[in-house]
Structures are given as structure tokens and as C-alpha cells.
């Protein structure tokens, strides 16, 4: 008998966006996860953002798993995350990490909260009496809080705790605490845990106005806030009360608001010569929100140096902010803010449009603050004895990747890989989880085995007889004030209630035993359990019920205390009890009409199809094949390698695409699990997760091949941008950056004698006609070529005419290096573009110097145009073949740009690389790894159950009108042309019920949310007098 292999366990440090996503991915792949977070409640920066770019809305619950959804919490993430395989430890630090990959011993320091959340009834009487008031750091000091407080104001459960520094031990709270949950002498607990791998997702410190001296000339009043503090000014759980945005100092409505970009970033003097990448976009978002929430007369002005809108849809968002919302952008970095006697904030700036100075008063100034990464990296480097690279960041195996160099089993993601926006935090989280999963597979550890208790018969057809079990919580009794006897008396009078049991501490062992034997005695066939925090004990209580012979579908759990407490300020015990009894009537009625539910396993074909044989496609294919998944790799051309892999020797950030592609090609062709199909395209693809069928067509001989597979990754890349502007095509002295790069590499562009080289950025890009988006890589490409020219010919004069230099993140150092090498950057505005005329066979470039406002011209020996990246020409064909859609820019439209960036609405199809949008090779590799991990979750050979609660079709009633097919947001319903009926993809269906309402005669119904149940609940809610005729 194979000796018992341990269950793979991963420690994820930091429960911000990236940490949560990494934890969910690993949990969904069947591994155990310990998710810790320094702060008392999880969420990181996410908890402070009510509105996220680009939809200006919330959406974090779309991070939750779709296919394995019933193993995770199915409610808003502000009520915390729950997943069977994830153990969440908030307020827990890492004291030490011993050992190495495969067996780490980690000392976790569970910081003392001085209030035991298990006992605390969260009514907050202690808060009322606490005399100590301090600044609330969640709202960045905009609001104040007591020494006993809730870390995140809108989270639930509240998880109250005491701030030891602020607490004066006056003991007032002890007097009023009804449950004795407070212990002022509690100590931190240190616990050692064994894990196989560690993912660092702790995030980095943000620039603030207290600890950094260069902020002193700006932070002159409380009305100068950081961008994160401004998010709290916008939030209703911060200081926003509706109608107007109020100044923190005197609560006067703020009508004129200014943003100052690059606060703390792009500053050689302070040794922070990097860009924090996300501040431009969240400044635009905040400006738009300020105008929406502050009223029409709000003026929003952003002072910037380069508006870095490099990502997918970023440029459109900027255009919309400027054109539709009237946000003003001024290219000037102000030297400081002056506080005037009346409290308004004066700023003097130079407006390049009019070339004049202005002194303007603002009501509120927001400092767009960036990242300060070094301290976090150094702390981890010391703790883990891991090497730092020359930039002072944790060295990773390949630049920007997620594997910590020299430390197998140690990964990092989120802003530790460089401050990232939400979508990249999610992608790096998935990629880190993927690498960790690969590491665990190689280690040979096992996934979680479920102790399955057989599911008894559902007895759904029997006359309904409901048993009700009420937990009398040992600790919380006094607080909730429920009069259990009155409760029992009220419930027993309802018809079809078989038995009412009051059981002490149902969550504890003896409570469980008491429940078991009380159920054995009743003839009831349905069970309703009243407990606290049902979402935590749900699975466990259902297992107990199963042991007592109740089918888990026939068991429901309601939040006994939450229901009673809702909305009643100081109710008497009787009020609460009758109120709770009234609420429970609906649950009893609804349970009576609940049908039997059926869980079966997902039919998963354990093969993957990867479309696109470029570096991204090959990386994804290898990542899956290395874990034993058979992969079919389809490539349109006659060779593997893709655009970069066959043309570009080296990139500015140190990657060597041609060499990398050669290595990948060699591994792919030799891999026993990978079948390569060259000159081949996907003609048509039908089916859903686990059951795809694709028709492959070979271009050279027109043959077709049919393939069955379980998941699909699209990595079809893009094309070099085309242009006809600036005289391209009329002289061989006018090249594109790609042509120049090739010419420099293979030598047939000789720069040794050139005198003047002029480069023009955004040729055909970021314009209403032509490419509306920024292709993100051309500034890097131009600077790379310019530096190479200077290297080969130091006397050459190189000018780069640009609109915004998009060297975001740590790429800023290349922009600085280029300037230092003598390359002269000239800014131009889109409505005064440079003009090119031919004179004596040389292109003469005419432009206006933005600083001196003088017309200048320069004859160029070489004019190089940065034409960006066009979407792949096969994108439209592919979208039609797979029933996907394209964005207005012609790239593939992902399911959710922030929370599901590499997935589609239809589950089972994943996306990587330039098919998503133009991106540097580093990001292509990251997305390829993440896409492989998403596919591997279902192709790992594990048996995956379908959800119990899904939609179903009563075929006899179905008129085949297909209204339910069109309305499904997940494409989980399709009309089966052959059998003339509606097919449901049990994996993709999320039981949202839209189809059931669209179908007028209940042919489409969600099992567990049927009309009968809901109508019974409505009846129960409206009955004035109790059901029984007595009284």
C-alpha cells in the first residue's frame, strides 16, 4: 500500500488582491493553503477601494472560483473569504522561516487581539464606553476610532480588537462586556507550521507624507491627502456622506481639486528613480469619480509629467475622462503647495499650452503616491536569506518572474514584483500559484482527500416534516437575549414542524453528539439549524446531518444571531425572539418545497489545446506537459517561435527572445506529451469545459483534423503595426523601429557615419483614427535602439519625438539612461504633430520645441517610426470560430478586465500574450504561466464534482424559444441542433437564476431556488397571525 503521501500545503503571506487570488487558485487545485495577513482583517489595499478602475465599480467577488464554487464562500468578500482548503490567519506575522523548498518550518506569530472573536457578540458596547480616541489609520486619519475598534469599518464579522499602544487599561470595557471576551493580558501566540512552499504576497510600503522629507513642501494642511486617503474621502464608509466631497479640515465642499503625479516616484534625488505604474490611472479614475460624486461644478486638474496610459483600455479611459468628464491635464510638476489664511491651497504652475504662469487656489490637493519597495524586499531577504538584485529587490529567476532566485519552493507575486494594477496582481497571483503547484507536483505530494460520508436518500417526495435545531451558544447567550423557550414554543406551533431542539454549542464535539442523537429520535425528513456565522460551519454541520441520515440538500443553516439582530436598536428579549421566529418561518416553508439535488462528476477530457506556437504558446504548452497533461500545439505558420522568437535577439530588459524560443522549441518538439500541428488553424470549436471539440484545418493541404480536449489556451500574439505616416515607404531612410532593430542586429543598417537620427513615437497610435490604444512596448523599443546607436556611434545626435514616454515601473531607469547618454527627448502634442519633408533625399523633420516654443527642423540621416502593435489578423476568425468577441481595438475581449483578465465568459478558454493586448515579453511569460495554471486546475486528473445547485430544464414544458440561452451571462446553455433540446453546461452554470425568470413557464428552473420555494417564503413573510389558528 503506497505510504501515506502528505497533502501539499502552501503558506501565502499577505491577503491582498494577489495573495487572495493565489490562495484561491491553489485551493481550487486541491492543495491546502495557510493565508496570513499582518493587519487585523484581510483585504490589503483592496479593502479601501470601493471603486476600481476601469469600471469605477467594485467586483472583487468575481475573483471567487466558478467551477468549484460550492467549496468556497458564495457571498461578498467583505464578509471575509471562506474555502474548505484555505485556513485564514489575520493579524499574524512571520517570525522565521527555516528549512528549504519541500519542507519549510514557519514560526507564525498570532498577534494578541485582546478580544476573543469566537466569544465576542460584536454588539460593540465596549466601543461605546472606551474613553480613548485615536486616529483611524484605515481612513488615514480622516476619521477617529477608539482604542477598542474594528480594523475595516465595513467588514463583517467585525473581528473587534484592542490597540495595545492606545489602551490605557482603564477597564471600562471589561465592565460592560456581556460575554467576557476581553482579556487585556492576552499574549501573542507563536505556532510552528510545516509547509511545502511559500508565496510572498505581502505588498510593499506606500509613499506617505509623514516619513518622507520631500513631501514637506506639499503636505501643508490636512486638505492635502494621499491618493489612498482620497479613496476613503470618496467612500461611504470613509467620510463621504453623499452630495459633495468634503475637505477633511473644515468639511467645506471641495469644488476645485488637484492631483499631483509622481509624488515620491521618478526622483533621482531621493534615490527613487522608478515609476510606480498605477498612479496615472487611479488619478484619472479619482478625478472622474470626484466629478461624478462631487457634483457638476467640481473642477478636476491633474499635474503630471507623462500620463502613462499604457495598459489595455487605459488610453480610451483617459480620452473619456478628458473629453466626457472634462478632467484637465496640465504637463507641469509643481514645486509646492502654499496654505493661504482662509485654508485654501495655492499652487503656482507653468501651463505649457499658453506658456504662462498661473497661481490657482484649490480646495483639496491629492498627492498621487507610489511605491517604496526596498524596505519590504530587504526584510524578506534577511528573513529568508535570499539574494537581492542590483536594484535592491528580491532576485528572481528571470526578470519579473515569480520564482525567487536560488530558493526552490519560494515564490512572490503582487506588488513585490513591482507595483501592479489589479489585473496584473491577479495574473501574477495565478502565475505564482501555478509555479507553486508545479513545484508540489514535482515534489510528489498529494492533493486534499475528502472524507466522503455517503449521501442518504433525499426523501424529498415524502410529506415534509421539518426538524429545527437551535444552538444555544455557551458564550454568546447573554448577549443575543434570545428566549429559547419562547422560540421553541413559537416554532412548534407551525404546521409541518416535527421537532424543535435547543442544543448547547452545536459547533463543539458534545453539541454535535447531542444533535446526532436528537435527530435519530425524530421522523423528520428536513432539518433547519440555527447557528452563528453559518458560512464557517456550513460544511461541517451538513456532514453531521448526513451522519444522522439527512441528505445534505434537505439541510439548511440560518444565521440565528444575525437574523434576530438586524435593524433593532435596543429590543427586549421577547421582541428579538418573536422577530427571529418570524424570519425563520420563511426558511421552514422554503425548505418544505426544496427538491432533491444531485451531484455528479464533471466529464473532463484530460487534454489541452494551445493555439499559437510563439514564446507564450510554447511556455504554456510546456507548463502543462511537464505536469503530464497531453497538449496539442497549433501554429498557423510553418515554424514555431512567433514574432519575437524569430526576430529579436535581445530586449532592453535583458531577455533574449530568439535564444529563449530556440530552447523552448527544442523542448516542445522533444516532449512526449506535446503534439505540434504546423500550418494549422482552428476552423471551428464547440462544446464547453471538459468537452471541447475543435476542427483543425491545415493550410498547406486543406486537410481537416478533429480534436477532443478539455481546455484551451489562446496565445496567437499580434503583428507589427503598419503606417503610412511621415513619409514611410517613400525613402529607405525612413524605417520602423522593428526594421531598424533587425538592421542593427544583422548589420545591414550602418549607423557608424550617421549624424542625426530622429525617432517619432506614437506613429499611427493613440489617435481617433488608426490605433486608439497605446502599444506599451514602442518607447522601450525606441530607447533600446537609440542606446544601441549611441553605443555604435557616440557622436550621432539622436532625437526622440514623443507624446508620453511610457517607461512605467522599473523601466524608468532606461529612460534616465537614454537621457544620460545624450539622447534628446522632444515632446509634441497630437494636434501639432511633427511634419516630414524630403530635401536632397533626406527626410527633414520639422517640430516645435515644447520648452522654447520655437519652430525647429533637423535633416535626419535616419527617421525611425514607432508604429506599435496591431492585433493578429487571425483574431476575428478565431473569435468567430470559438464564439468569442473582440474589443473595439481588435484584441480578444476577456471576461473581466480586472478580476478575470485571462479568462473568457465561457469557462475553459484562457488567454495569454499579445492576443490579450500588446505587452513586454516578461508579461507574456507571466500570462502564459497563469493561463496554464487555470487550465491545469481542471486537467490535473482530479475528479471534479459539479455543483449541486444548478439550472435544469423540464424538457416536456420547453417550447425551445431559446430566450434562456441568450440571457445566460456565462454561455452555459446552448441549443442542441441535433437533439433539438437545450443543453446545460453544469460546470459553467452559476445558478444565478436569470434563465429561470426569463423562461415564463418554469421549464428552466434552478434546483434549490424554485418558484414554489420562493413563493412559500413570500407567504410566510406576509402572514400576520401565526399559522396555527390558536391565538
Amino acid at each position: 500500500m503506497a505510504e501515506e503521501k502528505p497533502t501539499g500545503t502552501v503558506l501565502v503571506v499577505g491577503a491582498g488582491i494577489s495573495g487572495i487570488k493565489a490562495a484561491i487558485e491553489l485551493a481550487e487545485s486541491g492543495y491546502k493553503v495557510i493565508l496570513t495577513d499582518e493587519s487585523p482583517q484581510m483585504g490589503g489595499i483592496l479593502a479601501k477601494l470601493d471603486y476600481q478602475f476601469p469600471t469605477d465599480h467594485c467586483g472583487m467577488c468575481r475573483m471567487l472560483p466558478l467551477v468549484g464554487r460550492e467549496y468556497a464562500s458564495q457571498y461578498c468578500m467583505r464578509k471575509s473569504l471562506f474555502h474548505e482548503n484555505i485556513e485564514i490567519l489575520p493579524f499574524t506575522g512571520i517570525d522565521s522561516v527555516q528549512g528549504n523548498g519541500g519542507n519549510y518550518r514557519v514560526d507564525l506569530r498570532k498577534r494578541a487581539r485582546f478580544i476573543d472573536p469566537a466569544i465576542c457578540n460584536e454588539l460593540g458596547k465596549c466601543i461605546d464606553v472606551c474613553p480613548v480616541e485615536v486616529e483611524d489609520e484605515f481612513n488615514h486619519g480622516l476619521t477617529r476610532r477608539k482604542a477598542v475598534y474594528q480594523a475595516v469599518p465595513h467588514n463583517n464579522p467585525r473581528m473587534l480588537l484592542i490597540d495595545k499602544q492606545a489602551c490605557t487599561r482603564c477597564g471600562e470595557c471589561l465592565k460592560v462586556c456581556p460575554t467576557g471576551a476581553i482579556n487585556l493580558d492576552a499574549q501573542d501566540e507563536v505556532e510552528t507550521r510545516e509547509v511545502h512552499a511559500v508565496i510572498l504576497a505581502s505588498g510593499v510600503q506606500l509613499y506617505n507624507t509623514r516619513d518622507f522629507e520631500d513631501a514637506r513642501s506639499y503636505a501643508v494642511s490636512p486638505d492635502v491627502v494621499t491618493s489612498l486617503a482620497f479613496e476613503r474621502v470618496l467612500s461611504s464608509s470613509g467620510t463621504y456622506q453623499g452630495g459633495a466631497i468634503r475637505r477633511p479640515s473644515d468639511a467645506r465642499p471641495a469644488k476645485k481639486i488637484a492631483w499631483i503625479q509622481c509624488m515620491g516616484s521618478r526622483n533621482r534625488r531621493q534615490h527613487r528613480d522608478y515609476c510606480s505604474s498605477i498612479c496615472c490611472m487611479f488619478a484619472l479614475k479619482e478625478a472622474v469619480l470626484a466629478k461624478q460624486k462631487g457634483g457638476p461644478e467640481v473642477e478636476a486638474t491633474i499635474f503630471y509629467m507623462d500620463m502613462r496610459t499604457f495598459g489595455k483600455g487605459f488610453q480610451q479611459y483617459r480620452d473619456k475622462a478628458v473629453e466626457e468628464h472634462g478632467v484637465k491635464l496640465i504637463r507641469c510638476r509643481v514645486q509646492g503647495v502654499m496654505l493661504k489664511p482662509d485654508g485654501s491651497l495655492m499652487m503656482r504652475y507653468h501651463d505649457p499650452e499658453t506658456n504662462e504662469f498661473f497661481e490657482k487656489d484649490f480646495d483639496l490637493v491629492v498627492l498621487s503616491t507610489g511605491q517604496i519597495p526596498f524596505e519590504a524586499h530587504r526584510r524578506w531577504a534577511d528573513l529568508l536569506k535570499a539574494p537581492l538584485d542590483e536594484r535592491g529587490l528580491l532576485a528572481t529567476e528571470q526578470p519579473g518572474m515569480v520564482r525567487v532566485a536560488g530558493k526552490p519552493g519560494l515564490f512572490l507575486c503582487g506588488s513585490l514584483t513591482g507595483l501592479t494594477d489589479i489585473s496584473e496582481a491577479i495574473i501574477s497571483g495565478i502565475a505564482a500559484a501555478g509555479e507553486a503547484a508545479k513545484f508540489l507536483t514535482a515534489l510528489g505530494v498529494d492533493t486534499v482527500k475528502k472524507e466522503d460520508i455517503p449521501e442518504p436518500a433525499s426523501k424529498a417526495r415524502e410529506l415534509p416534516l421539518v426538524a429545527v435545531a437551535l444552538c444555544r451558544c455557551g458564550e454568546k447567550t447573554g448577549a443575543a437575549g434570545l428566549d429559547y423557550e419562547l422560540f421553541r414554543a413559537e416554532l412548534t406551533r407551525y404546521p409541518s414542524v416535527g421537532a424543535v431542539q435547543v442544543i448547547d454549542s452545536i459547533c463543539k464535539a458534545d453539541g454535535e453528539a447531542a444533535l446526532l442523537d436528537s435527530l435519530a429520535k425524530t421522523a423528520c425528513n428536513r432539518l433547519l439549524i440555527g447557528a452563528c456565522q453559518p458560512f464557517i460551519y456550513r460544511r461541517k454541520l451538513k456532514d453531521v446531518a448526513r451522519k444522522a441520515g439527512f441528505n445534505s440538500a434537505m439541510v439548511e443553516i440560518f444565521d440565528l444571531f444575525g437574523v434576530a439582530r438586524r435593524g433593532m436598536a435596543e429590543p427586549s428579549a421577547a421582541d428579538w425572539t418573536l422577530r427571529a421566529a418570524g424570519e425563520i418561518k420563511a426558511d421552514i416553508h422554503s425548505l418544505k418545497y426544496k427538491p432533491a439535488l444531485q451531484v455528479n462528476t464533471l466529464p473532463i477530457n484530460q487534454t489541452a489545446l494551445v493555439i499559437g506556437g510563439g514564446i507564450g504558446g510554447m511556455t504554456a504548452a510546456l507548463s502543462l506537459a511537464d505536469r503530464g497533461v497531453p497538449v496539442h500545439l497549433v501554429e498557423k505558420e510553418g515554424h514555431l517561435g512567433g514574432y519575437l522568437g524569430t526576430r529579436v535577439e535581445h530586449t532592453i530588459d535583458g531577455l533574449a527572445p530568439v535564444a529563449l524560443a530556440a530552447d523552448l522549441r527544442q523542448k516542445v518538439l522533444a516532449h512526449k506529451h506535446i503534439t505540434v500541428h504546423l500550418n494549422c488553424e482552428v476552423e471551428k470549436s464547440l462544446g464547453t469545459l471538459g468537452r471541447f471539440e475543435s476542427q483543425l484545418r491545415f493550410k498547406n493541404n486543406g486537410e481537416n483534423k478533429y480534436l477532443h480536449h478539455g481546455a484551451m489556451i489562446i496565445a496567437t500574439g499580434g503583428r507589427e503595426g503598419a503606417t503610412t505616416e511621415y513619409g514611410y515607404g517613400t525613402s529607405e531612410k525612413v524605417l520602423t523601429q522593428a526594421e531598424l532593430k533587425r538592421g542593427l542586429t544583422d548589420g545591414n543598417v550602418d549607423v557608424s557615419e550617421v549624424e542625426n537620427v530622429v525617432m517619432i513615437q506614437c506613429a499611427g497610435s493613440r489617435q481617433k483614427e488608426g490605433r486608439r490604444y497605446c502599444s506599451r512596448i514602442c518607447c522601450l523599443g525606441a530607447i533600446g535602439n537609440a542606446l544601441e546607436i549611441k553605443e555604435k556611434n557616440p557622436d550621432a545626435r539622436v532625437f526622440i519625438l514623443y507624446r508620453d514616454v511610457m517607461t512605467y515601473g522599473f523601466y524608468e531607469q532606461y529612460y534616465t539612461k537614454a537621457r544620460a547618454a545624450g539622447i534628446i527627448f522632444v515632446n509634441y502634442s497630437p494636434d501639432a504633430k511633427p511634419r516630414v519633408e524630403m530635401a536632397e533625399g533626406r527626410p527633414v523633420v520639422k517640430f516645435t520645441d515644447p520648452v522654447l516654443k520655437e519652430e525647429m527642423e533637423l535633416p535626419a540621416d535616419l527617421l525611425v517610426l514607432s508604429t506599435g502593435v496591431d492585433p493578429g489578423e487571425s483574431n476575428q476568425g478565431l473569435a468567430d470560430a470559438l464564439n468569442l468577441s473582440l474589443t473595439e481595438d481588435g484584441f480578444l475581449a476577456e471576461a473581466d478586465s480586472k478580476w478575470r483578465p485571462i479568462e473568457f465568459q465561457k469557462v475553459g478558454i484562457y488567454l495569454a500574450g499579445t492576443a490579450h493586448s500588446p505587452m513586454p515579453l516578461k508579461n507574456v511569460l507571466l500570462q502564459a504561466e497563469a493561463a496554464a495554471q487555470k487550465a491545469y486546475t481542471y486537467l490535473s486528473g482530479r475528479e471534479l464534482p459539479t455543483a449541486a445547485v444548478t439550472s435544469m430544464v423540464k424538457d416536456a414544458l420547453c417550447a425551445r424559444c431559446r430566450r434562456c440561452v441568450n440571457i445566460c451571462p456565462y454561455g452555459a446553455r446552448s441549443y442542441n441542433e441535433a437533439d433539438k433540446c437545450i443543453d446545460i453546461d453544469a460546470a459553467a452554470c452559476q445558478a444565478c437564476g436569470l434563465c429561470a425568470v426569463e423562461c415564463q413557464n418554469n421549464a428552466a428552473e434552478v434546483r434549490g431556488w424554485g418558484d414554489k420555494q420562493l413563493m412559500a417564503a413570500i407567504d410566510a413573510k406576509l402572514m400576520d397571525r401565526p399559522l396555527a389558528s390558536a391565538g
Binding site: Q292, L957, A959, R960, R962, N1002, K1012, M1015, D1019, M1023
Partner: protein, 376 residues
């Protein structure tokens, strides 16, 4: 492109000429079958599927009766299509119902030649029998109706037709035009490419448009519209509250016949007869005890309000619901007044066009802001 062909006839010879026209369609293979109103015995005219050319003698399309809505027949003929081409002679309201059913995938128009007609109204089925017994003929009815007189001694055309503002057929391939043709002549109008080819193939000589047709149609439609608005105003003044509606529906016995007759109620089985509405004794007692008494059967207003919500967007105002009610409840004004409001809310008109998306099929992010009245 509306081409016309003139079909003149001696007195009493209208149906003979029409029979010849339909026989021509079958003989020249334009269609494999013709669904057309035909006299079945001396009293009744019923929609009949004629497949042999020699059986068209009894056709009587202009008979002022529609025993069952033609749209329901079209649905059963084409929801699982035979693959054969069928010409269907239908009244304007039936064609508008067919347009809605096509969008609901209940009718497949691929192999259908739609033949519309001018409709001057229809009698209730029982009244039509009296009309026949008193020797009434379609020709006579047409003549009188065109002169504005549609009533018989103790009966008149159905309420729905009195207020129907769509006397002529749109969305059809061909149309039998009686208005403006003068006595002794009916015109066949080709409205589509397919219609034009069928006309050519049938050897009919093209003729100029009937002289006074447009004004006559406009005048008739305007008169009907005025009658409609008067009827709507009357009905709305009378039925504007729950009590009034309950009073109006007091005679309803939940026989659901109005749903069976309604062409756009396409569900195979209405939800009100599924187990969702098969209540237990305990539930009846519960409701009764709430206010001390309970009319049985229950869910009457529930049924009508739900039917209004489900189908008022597709209601074409054909009046079959009123005709079908055994207790004489005049449901047509209830459904048409409601349909006017709900269709107007989405700027939609039932039967107007095959391409127009039905309101519940789509949605947009920034629409209907007034529903919640909240701006972020």
C-alpha cells in the same frame, strides 16, 4: 416596388376567381400547399391546408370570421418545419402575431409564402353562423363594410376589429387588396421580391395600383384609431384600480381558455397549470385565515396580471381572448390598454418588424436610469 395584379370578377364570382388563383399556385409548383380559409360545410369557414390543385373550389378568404388565430396554425405547421413550401393566407393581426412568434422561434418563415389581405373585421364565430344562415356572402360583407356598414340585424364585427388600426397587411409577400379596388375587382399586391416572382410565375398581368386605395386605407385606419383611443380612454377610466380590475375579472373561472386562444401565448403548458400552482390544503386554509374568506379557485388576478406581464409586449390586439371567454369577459381592452403602455415603455410595437429585438432580449448598462432614480 409594390406591383399590383387585378383580379376582376362578376357578381358572386369573387371566390371562383380566387380559387383559380390558388389553383394556379399549386399547379405551377410555386408552393406545395396553401393554407387558406375555406367553406367546410354550408355554415363554417375554416383554415384549410390544400395540397391538391383540384381542391381549391371552396376557398373564401374574405369570409368575415377567424375561428382560430391563423398564427397558432402557422406555428404548429412550421415550428418543426416540413421542409415543404406553404402559402398562408392570413389576416393582418395573424401576420403580426406570426412575426412575434418567428422571433420566439415558434414559427419558421424560411419556406413560407405569406399572403396577407385587407381586413374589414370579423364576426364572432356564432354570429358568423347566423350571417351565413341569413344568406350573407363575403362579397356582400365586403361591399357593405367598404361602405362603412358591418353590422347584421343583431350582431356586429368583434370589438377588437372595431378599434384595429391595422386594416392592411405589412410584412407579407403578397396581399389581397379589397379596399380601393371598386366593386367587381380585387387586387393582388406584391410586397416583396418573393411575392413579385410568385405573381409573375402565376401569369397574372401586372396592373396599375387601385386608384383611391391609399386615401381609403388612411381614412379607415384613422377612423379605427379614433375609435381605439375612445375605447381605451373609456376602459382606463373604468378600470384604474385593483378593485375595478377584480370586479372586471369577477366572472373568470380560471379555465385559461383565453391563453389557449391567444396566438402569442406560446408556452407548451402555462405555469399556472404546472405543479407550482397546485397548492396544498394547508396553504388554502392559511390564505383563508388571513382575511376570513377565500374565493376559489384562487390565483385569478394573479394569472391575468402575470399573463399581462408575460405577453403584453407581444399582444397584436386580435381579440381572440374575448372571443374565447366562456363567461363573456371582454379581455381585449384590458390586454390592449396594457400592451400600449408596456410596448411604448420600450419603444416597441408587436409585429412591426422581424429584425426589431424584443424588449426582454437585450439590456444596456446606462439605460432606464429613472427606474432606480439613483446616480452614483
Amino acid at each position: 416596388m409594390a406591383e399590383y395584379a387585378k383580379l376582376s370578377f362578376q357578381k358572386g364570382g369573387l371566390n371562383k376567381e380566387l380559387a383559380a388563383f390558388f389553383r394556379g399556385l399549386l399547379e405551377n409548383g410555386a408552393v406545395d400547399g396553401v393554407l387558406v380559409p375555406m367553406a367546410q360545410n354550408h355554415k363554417w369557414v375554416r383554415l384549410t391546408l390544400v395540397t391538391s390543385a383540384s381542391h381549391t373550389a371552396g376557398v373564401d378568404p374574405f369570409a368575415p370570421v377567424a375561428a382560430v388565430s391563423g398564427a397558432k396554425i402557422a406555428s404548429s405547421l412550421t415550428s418543426r418545419p416540413s421542409g415543404r413550401t406553404i402559402a398562408m393566407v392570413l389576416r393582418p393581426c395573424e401576420i403580426r402575431a406570426v412575426v412575434e412568434l418567428a422571433k420566439l422561434k415558434q414559427v419558421n418563415l424560411d419556406d413560407v409564402l405569406l399572403i396577407g389581405m385587407d381586413c374589414l373585421g370579423r364576426y364572432e364565430n356564432t354570429d358568423f353562423v347566423k350571417f351565413q344562415e341569413q344568406g350573407g356572402t363575403s362579397e356582400a360583407f365586403l361591399e357593405n363594410a367598404l361602405a362603412g356598414k358591418t353590422s347584421g340585424p343583431d350582431f356586429d364585427i368583434v370589438g377588437a376589429c372595431k378599434i384595429c388600426e391595422f386594416p392592411t397587411a405589412a410584412n407579407a409577400d403578397l396581399s389581397l387588396c379589397a379596399i380601393g379596388g371598386g366593386n367587381g375587382a380585387v387586387f393582388i399586391e406584391a410586397l416583396t421580391e418573393k411575392g413579385g416572382q410568385t405573381l409573375e410565375k402565376s401569369g397574372m398581368k401586372p396592373s396599375e395600383a387601385p386608384a383611391g386605395r391609399n386615401e381609403a386605407v388612411k381614412k379607415l385606419a384613422a377612423a379605427r384609431l379614433e375609435a381605439r383611443d375612445k375605447k381605451f380612454a373609456e376602459f382606463r377610466a373604468e378600470v384604474n384600480s385593483f378593485e375595478a380590475l377584480a370586479d372586471k375579472l369577477a366572472g373568470c373561472v380560471n379555465c385559461y381558455n383565453c391563453r389557449v386562444a391567444c396566438p402569442v401565448c406560446y408556452c407548451k403548458e402555462c405555469v399556472f397549470i404546472t405543479d407550482t400552482f397546485r397548492h396544498t390544503g394547508e396553504q388554502f386554509m392559511m390564505w383563508a385565515e388571513q382575511s376570513g374568506m377565500l374565493k376559489m379557485p384562487t390565483d385569478t388576478m394573479f394569472y391575468h396580471l402575470t399573463r399581462l406581464t408575460h405577453m403584453s409586449l407581444f399582444c397584436v390586439g386580435c381579440g381572440q381572448c374575448t372571443s374565447a371567454c366562456p363567461n363573456g369577459l371582454d379581455l381585449m381592452p384590458l390586454f390592449r390598454t396594457c400592451a400600449e403602455k408596456t410596448q411604448a415603455r420600450f419603444d416597441y410595437q408587436a409585429g412591426r418588424s422581424l429584425e426589431e429585438e424584443q424588449p426582454m432580449a437585450g439590456f444596456a448598462t446606462d439605460e432606464l436610469i429613472e427606474v432606480t432614480g439613483q446616480v452614483k
